[in-house]
């Protein structure tokens, strides 16, 4: 494994990386050969195994934007070379890959497109190596909220559990008042994201509507194939409303199995991760009227820009973008803007600019996204709740969350957790 040897590999890898993402079969390779002062950006994500689809959709969206940037002259004049690696979803692999991407592949920026557990592993590497790192997929709030984890060189450019919970909570409270739903139950996957998000959500539902009481909880394992025992438990408890942050295949299985127990006719269901095309399209008989937060919907925010982006993605990859897609696209936009402002690709300089940077984006509630300075995390993104219908556009009457309220309550939440 001498340097010469590795570099050759890297070059080939880049070609491969581009080729694999059916796009830019020409663009990137040409770059790779001609432009030798190209900037290498490393990306560690999940390309194989159970949630491979999320990883590929992250890569697709990212490559789609990278091409645009390269076509427009690249980052401060340097073409972008993506070096994308598959962690198979294992945290120790993610850690190893990010070290390798920086140490041996000579990447100058690291994009961590891992799920939460992987993200925390990469975070330790970022602490170790001080490289400019952007988390694009981990929604676990503590990653950016906990000052112990705060690193000047690390940003989070994706949703955050606590934001979802505040918006979801206020929305649910309204529905609860209107329909007088007091007995609630939760069923969420038994891992950090599931536990934290659920706890936060519940606390806010109660905050906005004190009558609400939690009469039961069920904690299926992640990727559990059969939810019968969970469903029967719910039927025992007979809650008026049910909250779940199950996602992806687990959610669709839960819906399918819940259907045959006629669960969704009996209980008002709030599934934060329902309004994601992958889930919406997979479920065969999608019950009407499930409440859900938006993940990515091209009709929310209902702007031409957003619709255009969604259609472009679909046209290019012949699949719907996922929640992970827009987040990775956004990161590229941020980098491009920062490089323009700093007129440099130096990690430290970029980090300086990224701190508090606001950009125009189809994914913002008001057309803007901001990397908040205080905790270097994304705010202002489209966040809202609506109810499902069985056909396109799948989710209707979205009510957008109010960021002013989010900021206030988030601040209180941080105090409560003494994160400040």
């Amino acid at each position: 494994m001498t340097h010469a040897h590795r570099n050759r590999l890297d070059r080939r890898t880049v070609l491969k990386g581009a080729a694999a993402s059916t796009v830019g079969l020409l663009a990137v390779p040409m770059v790779a050969r001609s432009e030798n002062k190209a900037i290498k950006i490393g990306m560690s994500t999940i390309l194989s195994g159970r949630v491979a689809q999320l990883g590929t959709s992250s890569r697709n969206a990212l490559m789609m934007e990278v091409e645009k940037i390269n076509a427009a002259g690249g980052l401060a004049g340097r073409q972008i070379e993506m070096v994308i690696r598959d962690s198979k979803g294992q945290p120790q692999e993610a850690a190893r890959l990010s070290r390798e991407l920086i140490n041996s592949d000579g990447c100058e920026i690291l994009i961590d497109a891992e799920a939460s557990s992987g993200a925390f592993a990469v975070h330790e590497v970022a602490r170790d190596l001080g490289m400019l790192t952007l988390h694009t997929n981990s929604e676990t709030s503590s990653l950016s909220a906990d000052p112990k984890l705060h690193l000047p060189n690390v940003f989070r450019a994706c949703r955050q559990g606590v934001h979802d919970s505040i918006v979801g909570g206020s929305y649910a409270a309204k529905v609860a008042k209107a329909k007088n739903l007091t007995k609630w139950m939760t069923t969420s996957p038994d891992y950090a994201y599931g536990r934290d998000t659920t706890a936060e959500y519940v606390s806010y539902v109660k905050y906005f509507n004190p009558e609400v009481e939690i009469v039961g909880e069920a904690w299926p394992k992640l990727f559990q194939p059969d939810y019968t025992e969970v469903l029967t438990k719910i039927l025992q408890t007979k809650p008026q409303a049910l909250y779940s942050c199950l996602w992806g295949g687990d959610l669709t299985a839960f819906i399918d199995q819940g259907n045959i127990y006629a669960l969704f006719q009996q209980t008002e269901t709030f599934a934060v991760n329902m309004a994601d095309y992958t889930a919406l399209t997979a479920v065969k008989n999608l019950p009407k009227g499930i409440h859900s937060g938006d993940r990515y919907i091209k009709t929310f925010p209902n702007t031409p820009a957003n619709a255009a982006w969604g259609d472009a993605y679909r046209a290019k990859y012949n699949e719907y973008p996922t929640n992970w897609s827009w987040q990775n696209a956004a990161v590229v936009h941020f980098l491009a803007e920062a490089a323009k402002k700093a007129n440099s690709t130096d990690g430290a300089k970029l980090a300086e600019v990224l701190k508090g940077l606001t950009i125009e984006s189809p994914f913002g509630t008001d057309g803007h996204l901001t990397l908040r300075a205080e905790d270097q995390t994304l705010v202002g993104y489209a966040i809202g709740w609506g109810t499902t219908i069985p056909t396109e556009p799948y989710v209707t009457d979205m009510t957008a969350g109010d960021w002013k309220q989010i900021y206030e309550l988030e601040a209180e939440w941080k105090k409560k957790k003494n994160y400040t």
């Binding site: 590929t56 598959d86 945290p91 850690a95 984890l149 950090a192």
Partner: protein, 333 residues
């Protein structure tokens, strides 16, 4: 000084250590350093597993429990108590021994496949415990916040180079110790039990005690591997205690060869190289790996080093030199 003597082992070990120490100077590649650190963690783990499988005929599907316990207890001791690294290391090995004693006492009585699955069950219990005990272990997100590394005797493990040398040293020492075990009277008693436990019993050998001892010893060395791993990722993840780690251990043994003491080390290199390079070129990692596995299983039918060594021995015998047939042959299960 014969090939069998401890002195010979020490000499070889010293040479190996010297080479390992020089490598980063010849090839100044951080990736190489990382590779060797990971490698020594897995090599220790796999060799200790082969001590059970290849020499003891005890196929454990739960050996990863010691790897996981090693990683977690070391990381936790360093995070929670400010004790010096050597102390935490020793204490960790002690815990692994304790676990081995308890689990082993229950498992080693069982036959073949049942032994395998009972060990697996215990490992999964440990795994569930790690997932469940969030305040202590951080649950499924693993132990975060990094591992403090106070320097000791001039060794500063915060420095990757020091960590590299430390891992190499642990690996070499561990291998020498295990090779000594394998060549000790105990080692041969273990082989007898592997070949024919009933007969061994009628020769006055305390089968249960010997097996239990082997189980505990193997656990301790696996734990050492876990410690290296925790230092490498500066944390610990439930995956370390998940059954797939045990699976990888078995897999490494099969790749490298279970009839040769160094087989697992070779296997480790093969697996890591496969893992690190195959993933670069294809998303169909499983497909590629699967095919390679079949080539080994149906083509070579033996671990790589076994194939090589057997060929070499045949050469030697042909040359008329009295070749010592390998003390071990495929016995497991």
């Amino acid at each position: 000084m014969t090939r069998r003597s401890l002195a010979f082992d020490l000499l070889v070990g010293a040479a190996a250590l010297a080479i390992l120490a020089l490598m980063p100077i010849v090839w100044p590649s951080k990736a190489l350093v990382d590779f060797v650190i990971r490698g020594s963690a897995f090599a220790l783990f796999a060799t200790s597993l082969n001590f059970l499988v290849g020499y003891g005929g005890m196929v454990s599907f739960g050996h990863g429990m010691f790897f996981g316990l090693g990683a977690y207890s070391f990381a936790l001791l360093m995070q929670r108590t400010g004790m010096p690294i050597p102390a935490a290391f020793a204490l960790t090995l002690l815990m692994c021994a304790a676990l081995g004693l308890i689990v082993g006492a229950i498992c080693v009585r069982l036959k073949e496949i049942y032994f395998a699955f009972l060990t697996l069950a215990f490992q999964m219990l440990l795994y569930s415990l790690i997932i469940l005990w969030v305040p202590l272990t951080g649950g499924d997100q693993g132990l975060r916040g990094g591992i403090p590394r106070p320097p000791f005797l001039g060794v500063n493990l915060a420095n990757q180079m020091h960590l590299y040398l430390m891992s190499c040293a642990l690996l070499v020492v561990g291998l020498i110790l295990m090779h000594h075990l394998v060549q000790s009277p105990f080692g041969y008693t273990l082989r007898m039990i592997r070949d024919n436990a009933t007969r061994a019993n009628f020769l006055g050998i305390a089968v249960f005690r010997v097996r239990l001892t082997a189980f505990v010893l193997a656990g301790v060395f696996a734990g050492a591997g876990g410690v290296i791993m925790s230092l490498f990722v500066s944390g610990a993840y439930p995956e370390f205690a998940y059954w797939t780690i045990s699976g990888e251990g078995i897999f490494i043994i099969m790749l490298g060869g279970w009839n040769s003491f160094l087989g697992p080390v070779v296997g480790t290199v093969i697996l890591l190289v496969l893992n690190d390079f195959v993933t670069r070129f294809t998303e169909y990692y499983g497909l590629t790996l699967g095919i390679i596995i079949l080539l080994f299983a149906l083509g070579l039918r033996r671990g790589l080093l076994d194939v090589v060594l057997d060929a070499w021995r045949r050469q030697v015998t042909l040359a008329g030199v009295g070749a010592k047939p390998s003390g071990v042959s495929n016995a497991p299960l």
